[in-house]
Symmetry: C2
Subunit: 607 residues, 2 copies
């Protein structure tokens, strides 16, 4: 050992001890004939004091930032203690030192508040990883992983490794593929998730499986996506939805407690997919704040059972609302006094191409009970009052109304609600609110191919009540224009998403375990029998030999860690992330291969 | 939940309870009007009793092997208890049952002693995994993993994930590669190990890193190799060899205790590589038994400091020994009475092509102190006695002697020693003996290229005493024939292997952390500066910014588990293994790809 103690451990009680420390030089400060060095390692920082007697040696061997230093000396209780440092009560009076390795001047400062830009920090990631903020993130990640493993262990789960070199069965996302040298012209794929393998483990009777496992998706990358990412992947036998929800609420609560010291004792709220869309305009609502949406007008096919309020906005010849498919309002609390400048800014915000609205209608609910709107020309005070009542606006609120085509308008309302939540400080960084979203539609309609696609994945079971509908009806859509009338359009999935502060952190479902139903599902997705056999013959085979009812869930580990760490970016919680072109700029990967390597794999570059 | 209890949990104390069980039908036995069913799940087997009143229902819904069954009933203490079953004190008097899923007749019996052949079991791996023996293996694997994580956690290690999509830098083994869609003509490689990344984490100051991680090597497969395998991968800062040995002896002892309930309290023995080769003929000796080798004759260049015993076998005109480069003997205890048939069988054994000896010489050390050998024609009683003394043979032993070229003969002696150990019952399945092998040569000589290759890997440091030799001498080998006289030939590596019962279970080294030394190492391996920069520029870069002394180790997790489980085959301890052609015969991977997928990846099949 190059040290007897770490740089984070010495205290007053160690006074006069002879110790050896090793670490990195954080700072060198000279005061007259004395030199102070802050020595840093993973565990902390200890101040070293080099007295005059070492000056010759220091001159011959000058210290610099990030030098690796071994220092032998005596622990000394300081008169001027540093309360900001765990070791601030002491310093080390150095008697002997050795420079274990030198350092060039780093390209950026090794501090939380660094002067290094993104590109530079990624190129020198090994230096970036020295910054306390990054270290804290990776330590949090480790703590989340450990908490997860302990909880799942205590609940009877066992970690079973599934293979990485599997078969390409692209559904939705693209696979990364791996040419086989031993099997000419054939390829492995890297798993997008261990989905089918964990189901096979249930068929094999392993009862409760988990894995914290790398998964791979060859998708065009956004800031918060990585080509390789990590999942907490779980599956259980002989369970229904309620069992899964209880088990994994428990997991997240345990993580909150152990990692953030938060007692999440309240009940985790639940909402149906339809209610989420109706009330928040999206399927992963942030429920840290209210500002619920009011659907003043909506197309006949959607939300058929909801109350039609279109009379509130129609019949006054206001073309914007009359021509809009959808009109959605919500009340921003306490904003009735917004200036023209402020409302103009909001209008500009919704007119940005990312949101795509043509404008924004305001109704100010004045403190005196009167109303003032940007559409006073069309709406009487009485009408405005009725709208305000429908939107549950109180005196002092500002009602915001968007109008346009169904999907875009709903998304705009949702985004504007989030934006207002941020503006009003309602999305508090230290508040965590969990939500289960339930009862998703099983299918989405794919217009180009005039067929169904699985909203979650092809292994998700319909709700028990909908199984009959699925079995007894053909999935074929005879009239594309009337796909909404097809019995499959209303089938609900036995699926659930866990949402944290407006982010989906986990999702799963009760699975299909009956061969006939699975075949029907594959058929609905446009697979003929030959394709079913080719891609999933092993799973259909397994379902012939006593497949039990089962279900599971997968959490996005990177996202979960970043949210717990209070960051929007998952990259900050990955030791060696890739950039938006899928490159690791530190090791400079991917790279070119020798012709010999390609030859051995029986492939060549496209000409 | 489809059950209130598992099939392994009910006891006499649960008498009269109403419970619900769910599981698989192991057996159905009809006794008159009563039907007994053994219901199985991961936790055990419970006997169900269907009384006469359920016969109509059973006839309408007949049960078969591997059917998935839910049974509701009352716990009843049995009069005829079954002591072989944890639940053998009770049975369930079934009042209601539901067949949750049917099963076709399985292609082999779901028992430890199955009638299924290897190929069939691999194709239906999901059924094979139901067999208790396989389940026990995967549970043992989980226990080893959990024990490892707990020990390393308690010792300050943190689990940090390293990337799977990296750069191809083949040294020795072939990489699996992954075409990049977003970077045309470029490829990722899957890691053969996280070696450079864990070293960077040390440069970043993470101090103690571990990971239980999948690694990939595209090698031709033997029975005990898999293209994807799992490592316990560890690295530590500011350590010397002694620290690593102590830390990881501790890990293995902890695993022994927690997984096998074995107190491994004895000191872990240590042997130098040279002593291992000298005494056991190989670098991973099984030290559960003695039978040490005696080198009666060996080439001048090898083991230069050892006593020359060639006078014992020479000067009698026995051409076999005279012409042999190497003559090695060992005494098989208590075998002096071996029959002609037995010694003939041993001779045949060493003459097999895998061993490749031309014959075997025997000396029987009779109980009365006399000797009888197969070479009495050449050797006097006195000479035989001298050889027996050198080989430390006692009266009653049988001395076996092999002779031939150095490498092949040493290997033959080693294999014959192991074979005799097995034959004599000295390699006990329930005995575990650990051994550290130390002081390996740093380099091996590659004849074709007339250059050095790293015996361990290019990041292993020479012993401190040899660093100067390495820095100050050119790696170039001027005269191929005299490579043994090159100063590099005698450089020892700061490396260590952990051996368990004759199997290497782990290996590691103290790493190079000085840029100059690392460059010298790369140069010795035939890399010019451009190639060094291209392949390992990031590592050489990292060594410029304060790289600390560090070292580590990696354990073969699959192998470790198989040895603890008492099996020679790692496949038995992998949930979904591949066969010797690298195929997963269950999912039928690898497979062909659509032309579209290849196009997107900018590759095509070789024409």
């Amino acid at each position: 050992m190059f040290r007897s103690h770490t740089c984070g451990e010495l205290r007053s009680s160690d006074n006069s001890k002879e110790v050896t420390l090793a670490g990195w030089v954080q700072t060198v400060r000279k005061f007259g004939s004395i030199t102070f060095v802050d020595l840093r390692d993973r565990y902390g920082i200890t101040q070293l004091l080099f007295s005059e007697s070492l000056n010759d040696q220091l001159e011959a061997n000058p210290l610099g930032r990030e030098f690796v230093l071994q220092a032998i000396g005596t622990v000394n209780v300081r008169s001027n203690k540093n309360p900001n440092l765990a070791t601030g009560d002491i310093e080390l009076l150095v008697t002997k030192f050795t420079i274990l390795n030198k350092s060039a001047v780093p390209p950026f400062t090794i501090q939380d508040d660094t002067d290094g830009g993104d590109d530079l920090r990624m190129k020198y990631r090994y230096l970036d990883l020295r910054r306390p903020a990054v270290k804290k993130n990776l330590e949090l990640r480790y703590a989340v992983g450990r908490s997860t493993r302990n909880y799942l262990h205590e609940n009877g789960f066992i970690d079973i490794e599934t293979p990485f070199l599997i078969k390409s069965t692209p559904e939705g996302a693209r696979d990364f593929i791996v040419p086989s040298r031993m099997n000419e012209g054939q390829f492995y794929a890297l798993p997008q998730s261990p989905q089918t393998f964990k189901q096979l483990l249930m068929v094999s009777g392993y009862d409760r499986y988990y894995q914290i496992v790398k998964c791979f998706r060859d998708e065009d990358l956004r800031a918060d996506r990585q080509p390789e990412f990590t999942q907490i992947d779980c599956e259980m036998c002989f369970v229904e939805q309620e069992d899964i929800l209880n088990t994994f609420e428990g997991l997240v609560k345990r993580i909150f407690k152990e990692v953030k010291n938060i007692d999440y004792s309240q009940t985790v709220e639940r909402i149906t997919w339809e209610n989420a869309m109706w009330t928040y305009g999206n399927d992963k609502p942030d429920i840290r704040f209210e500002m619920k949406l009011t659907n003043l007008k909506f197309p006949a096919h959607a939300f058929a059972t909801r109350q039609d309020l279109s009379n509130l906005v129609g019949a006054v010849n206001f073309k914007v609302f009359d021509e809009a498919e959808t009109v959605i309002a919500f009340a921003a609390p306490g904003c009735s006094e917004y200036s023209r400048k402020q409302t103009d800014e909001l209008t500009e915000w919704v007119k940005r191409p990312q949101i795509g609205m043509k404008g924004l209608v305001f109704i100010k609910c004045n403190a005196d009970g009167s109303f003032k709107s940007s559409v006073d020309k069309f709406y009487s005070e009485e009408k405005l009052k009725a709208i305000a009542q429908a939107a549950q606006a109180k005196a002092g609120d500002l009602i915001l109304i968007v109008a346009g085509p169904e999907e875009r308008t709903r998304k705009a309302a949702s985004e504007l609600r989030m934006y207002m939540g941020t503006l009003l400080g309602l999305r508090k960084a230290d508040e965590f609110k969990l939500l289960w979203v339930l009862d998703f539609p099983l299918f989405e309609y794919a217009e180009e191919e005039n067929r169904w696609v699985a909203r979650h994945h092809p292994f998700t079971s319909p709700k028990p009540a909908d199984i009959k509908t699925m079995i007894e009806n053909s999935p074929v859509i005879e009239h594309a224009a009337e796909y909404l009338k097809h019995p499959y359009a209303n089938i609900k999935a036995n699926a659930y998403d866990m949402v944290l502060n407006g982010n989906e952190i986990g999702g799963g479902s009760i699975r299909i375990y009956q061969k006939e139903l699975q075949q029907k599902m594959f058929a609905a997705l446009g697979m003929d029998e030959a394709e079913q056999q080719h891609k999933f013959g092993f799973l259909l085979g397994a379902f012939e030999y006593g497949a039990p009812p089962h279900g599971g869930i997968a959490f996005g580990f990177d996202r979960l860690c970043s949210l717990l760490g209070g960051s929007e970016s998952i990259r900050d919680f990955i030791a060696f992330p890739k950039n938006n072109s899928g490159r690791d700029v530190m090791i400079d990967a991917p790279g070119k291969l020798d012709a010999k390597q390609l030859d051995e794999l029986h492939i060549q570059l496209s000409s």
